[in-house]
C-alpha cells in the first residue's frame, strides 16, 4: 500500500556489462570501448596467454596439493578473466590488497614463482616481499584488506602521489563490517581506491543470496561510491572497468566499486567438497560461460589463428608450471630460527630469552631429536 514512498532497492538489476559474449561476439559499450582503443591483437593475445597461464598455475598447484607438496590450495578456476583483466589495468606502482584467491593477480604483478606457493606449503606466513611487486601478501581474514587499501589510498592522497590502490574481495566479504567501513572511509576521504569484488556466487557453502538480495554493486551507491557491474568472465570488461576506475582515482574523483560477476568453478579450497552444497547443473551452466573459451571464440571472430595462439600460450604455461613445481620442490624447510624471527623490530628481552631457552632445549636432545632422560643429580 505504501510502496511508492519507499525507495525501491529491488529494482531488477540490469544484466552485467559485457563486451565479449560467451559465443565470442563483441558487444559495444561507448564508455568501456573508449578506454580499450589501444587493445590490439597483440594485447588480446597477451591477455589470453595470461589467463591460460593463470589457469595452469591453478591446475599445477592443485596437483601439487594432491601429491602432498602443498598443504592447501584455493583455486581460482573460472575467475581468470576477472583477475587478469583487472590486474593488467594496474600500473606497477599501484598497490594491490587481495584475499587468498588472487593468484592470477599475483602472477600479473610479477611475483617470483618460487614465492607464490610458499604460504600454501606451510613454509612461511607469506611468500613475497609486498614492496617488490607492490602487492600485499594474501589476506585470510575476510575483508580486512579492504581497509588497508583505503588507508594506503588515503596516504597517496596525503603525500600527493598519483598511484591508486585496489582491494580484491569476494561476495561473502561484503557482509563483513570491515568492508562496509572501508566503503565509508573511502567515500569520506575520496580516496583513490578501487573496490574489486569478485562475486563468484559462493562463500564456501553459502550462496551469494544469503549475503544480499540485491546486486552487490548496489551496495556502493549507499555509500556514495559509483559502481560498475560487469560480466566477470569477460576479460575486456574487467580490463575496461578497472581502467575507468583507475582513471577516476588518478583524476581525484575518489573511489569506484566494481562487481565482477563470475563463478568459482572449483572447490573453495582443496579441502572442500562442493558436491555437498551445490548442483552439477549450476556448474555446467557456468562452464558454458568459461572465460578462456570465450576469448578464443572472440579471437576467432577477429580472424586470428586460435590454435597457434593456444599452443603458444600453453607452451608458456608449461614453462611456468615447471618453474613453479621445481621452485617448490627445491624449497628447503624453514629453519627453527624463523620461529622467532621478526616478531619485533626492536629488542625484546623476553622473546630473546625464550629463544635462548629453546636453543638450549634443542641442544639437549639427542641426534635423532629425542629427549635424553636425565641421569645424575639436578641442580638449581
Amino acid at each position: 500500500m505504501s510502496r511508492n514512498v519507499l525507495s525501491d532497492p529491488a529494482t531488477e538489476a540490469a544484466d552485467p556489462i559485457q563486451l565479449v559474449a560467451p559465443d565470442g561476439s563483441r558487444h559495444h559499450h561507448p564508455d568501456l570501448d573508449a578506454v580499450l582503443t589501444d587493445v590490439n591483437d597483440d594485447a588480446l593475445a597477451e591477455l589470453y596467454t595470461d589467463m591460460v597461464v593463470a589457469r595452469r598455475i591453478d591446475t599445477e598447484a592443485t596437483a601439487l596439493q594432491r601429491q602432498g607438496e602443498l598443504a592447501l590450495w584455493p583455486p581460482l578456476l573460472g575467475q581468470e578473466a576477472a583477475q587478469i583483466g583487472s590486474a593488467r589495468a594496474l600500473r606497477p606502482d599501484d598497490f594491490v590488497f587481495s584475499s587468498y584467491r588472487e593468484n592470477g593477480v599475483a602472477y600479473c604483478r610479477g611475483v617470483d614463482l618460487d614465492d607464490l606457493l610458499t604460504v600454501w606449503r606451510g613454509n612461511a606466513s607469506s611468500g613475497w616481499d609486498p614492496f617488490a611487486i607492490n602487492m600485499a601478501t594474501p589476506q585470510i581474514i575476510i575483508g580486512a584488506q579492504t581497509l588497508h587499501a583505503v588507508g594506503y589510498a588515503m596516504g597517496v592522497k596525503f603525500d600527493g602521489g598519483d598511484q591508486a590502490s585496489i582491494a580484491y574481495f569476494g561476495d561473502g566479504a561484503v557482509t563483513q563490517g570491515d568492508v562496509n567501513e572501508a566503503l565509508a572511509f573511502a567515500a569520506s576521504y575520496q580516496a583513490p581506491v578501487v573496490f574489486f569484488c569478485q562475486n563468484n556466487h559462493w562463500a564456501i557453502s553459502e550462496p551469494v543470496s544469503l549475503q544480499t538480495r540485491v546486486p552487490i554493486a548496489q551496495r556502493a551507491s549507499g555509500f556514495g561510491i559509483p559502481a560498475l557491474r560487469i560480466d566477470g568472465n569477460d576479460v575486456l570488461a574487467a580490463l575496461a572497468a578497472t581502467r575507468i576506475a583507475l582513471e577516476r582515482a588518478r583524476a581525484g574523483d575518489g573511489p569506484t566499486f566494481i562487481e565482477a560477476v563470475t563463478y568459482r568453478m572449483g572447490p573453495h579450497t582443496t579441502a572442500d567438497d562442493p558436491t555437498r552444497y551445490r548442483d552439477r547443473a549450476e556448474l555446467d551452466a557456468w562452464a558454458e560461460k568459461d572465460p578462456l573459451i570465450r576469448v578464443e571464440r572472440f579471437l576467432a571472430t577477429r580472424g586470428m589463428a586460435v590454435d597457434g595462439f593456444r599452443e603458444a600460450a600453453e607452451h608458456r604455461a608449461d614453462d611456468v608450471a615447471e618453474a613453479l613445481r621445481q621452485g617448490l620442490i627445491a624449497k628447503t624447510d624453514p629453519d627453527v630460527e624463523d620461529v622467532f624471527g621478526e616478531v619485533y623490530a626492536e629488542e625484546h628481552p623476553w622473546l630473546a630469552r625464550q629463544q635462548e631457552h629453546y636453543r638450549r632445549y634443542l641442544a639437549s636432545l639427542d641426534d635423532s631429536g629425542d629427549r635424553t632422560p636425565p641421569t645424575g643429580e639436578g641442580d638449581r
Partner: protein, 351 residues
C-alpha cells in the same frame, strides 16, 4: 521425522564416537530437548560446518533451527544476543579460532556484561563454540589459542573438553547454562575415538569440574583441551623414569575448579602447567600465580610453564617447535623435579 532420526534421538546407550561426532550428538540432543535452542554460524547448515560438527542437523531440524549465518562474526554474535532477548538459546559456531576477533566487541561488551548490566533481568545463555589450537598444518589464523582473552573477561565462562565423553556432556551443560559459555574444541582431536555414554546424567557433575585424569604423587601436571592427551602420554613416559605424574584436566578454564589443583599440589609440592597459547599473560600465569598464593608453603619448586612461544602462530612447517610436545613437557617435569634438564646450569631466573 524419519525412523533413523527417531532412533538416533532415542539413543541413550554407550557408543564409540569420535570427538567431533560426540559434539554433534550433544548438539542434536540439545536441539531436540529444547525448542529454544538454535545452532548458527557460517556454513553450519547445508555443509554441516567445515569440520562437519553440525552435520545433518539442518536436515533434521530445519533452517530456522540450524541457520547458515551471513559471513560476519560480529553480526552472528550480535544477532544471537537479540535472540537471547527473545528467549532463545543460541549455539554459535565460530569457524576457526582466528575468526573470533571481529566478534570480540559483542562478546566482551555485550554478551559478557548484559546480565550484570540488567541486574539479572536478562539471561545470556549463549554457547560460543570455537575450534581452537594448532597441529593440523593449517595456514595463519587457523591454529590460535585465544582462551586467555575470554578467561580474563568477567561474565563469561570458558571451558574446553579433552575427550569425546566430556565433549558430549559439556556441550549439553554449556547450552543448559544460563551463563554465556565459550566452548573451545581442540580441533586436532576431532577424529579421536572413545566410548561415549549418551545417557550420562548432566547433573552428576557441575559444568567444568576439574578431574584427575591420571593419579600420581611426585608432580602435578595441569593441562586442558588438546594437551591433555599429550600430558597423559608424558605421564606414562615419566613413569618409565620412575617419576609419578598426576595429570589434571581442568575442563573449565574460567572459573577454574581449583580444589583438585590445590589438593594435588599440596601433595606433590611441584607443578607443571602446559598450554599451546603463548606464555606471557596466558592462562598458565594465572594458574601458576594461584598455585603460589594457595600452596606457597607446600611448594618445593616454582610452578613451571611449558607453553607456546610469545610469537604469532608460526607457519605450519614450524608449528611442531611451537607446540608443547611430550618431550618438552617431560623437560618441564624434570625442571619441576629439580632433575637435570635443558636449563640446568643456568642461574635461578633462567627457568
Amino acid at each position: 521425522m524419519s525412523t533413523e532420526t527417531a532412533q538416533r534421538e532415542d539413543a541413550r546407550g554407550t557408543q564409540t564416537l569420535t570427538f567431533g561426532k560426540a559434539i554433534n550428538a550433544g548438539l542434536r540432543r540439545a536441539l531436540s530437548d529444547d525448542p529454544k535452542v538454535l545452532v548458527m554460524g557460517e556454513d553450519v547448515g547445508r555443509l554441516g560446518g567445515v569440520f562437519r560438527i553440525t552435520d545433518g542437523l539442518q536436515a533434521e531440524f530445519g533452517p530456522e533451527r540450524v541457520l547458515d549465518s551471513p559471513l560476519a562474526e560480529s553480526g552472528i554474535v550480535g544477532t544471537a544476543v537479540g535472540l537471547a532477548y527473545r528467549g532463545f538459546r543460541p549455539v554459535i559456531e565460530i569457524q576457526f579460532d582466528g575468526f573470533v576477533y571481529p566478534a570480540f566487541d559483542q562478546i566482551v561488551s555485550q554478551v559478557a556484561k548484559l546480565r550484570y548490566r540488567t541486574r539479572g533481568r536478562l539471561k545470556m545463555p549463549l554457547t560460543i563454540r570455537i575450534p581452537f589450537g594448532g597441529g593440523i598444518g593449517s595456514p595463519e589464523h587457523h591454529s590460535e589459542s585465544p582462551e586467555a582473552y575470554f578467561a580474563h573477561t568477567a561474565g563469561l565462562r570458558v571451558v574446553s573438553p579433552s575427550n569425546p565423553q566430556d565433549a558430549f556432556t559439556m556441550i549439553r551443560q554449556a547450552i543448559a547454562s544460563d551463563d554465556p559459555v565459550v566452548y573451545f574444541e581442540p580441533k586436532r582431536r576431532y577424529h579421536e575415538k572413545a566410548e561415549v555414554d549418551l545417557g550420562a546424567d548432566l547433573s552428576a557433575m557441575p559444568l567444568g569440574a576439574a578431574r584427575v585424569a591420571s593419579p600420581g604423587t611426585d608432580v602435578t601436571l595441569i593441562a586442558y583441551g588438546p594437551l591433555v592427551k599429550t600430558a597423559l602420554d608424558a605421564a606414562q613416559a615419566a613413569a618409565d623414569e620412575d617419576v609419578s605424574v598426576e595429570v589434571i584436566d581442568l575442563r573449565s578454564l574460567s572459573p577454574i575448579d581449583f580444589g583438585p589443583v590445590e589438593a594435588s599440589v599440596r601433595k606433590t609440592g611441584r607443578a607443571v602447567i602446559t598450554h599451546e597459547a603463548g606464555q606471557f599473560a596466558g592462562l598458565g600465569a594465572e594458574i601458576a600465580a594461584s598455585i603460589t598464593e594457595r600452596c606457597f608453603y607446600h611448594l618445593e619448586h616454582a610452578p613451571v610453564r611449558v607453553t607456546g612461544f610469545d610469537i604469532p602462530y608460526p607457519p605450519s612447517k614450524l608449528e611442531h617447535h611451537h607446540l608443547p610436545d611430550l618431550d618438552r613437557i617431560l623437560d618441564g617435569v624434570d625442571r619441576a623435579m629439580d632433575r637435570p634438564n635443558s636449563l640446568t646450569g643456568l642461574v635461578e631466573g633462567g627457568a
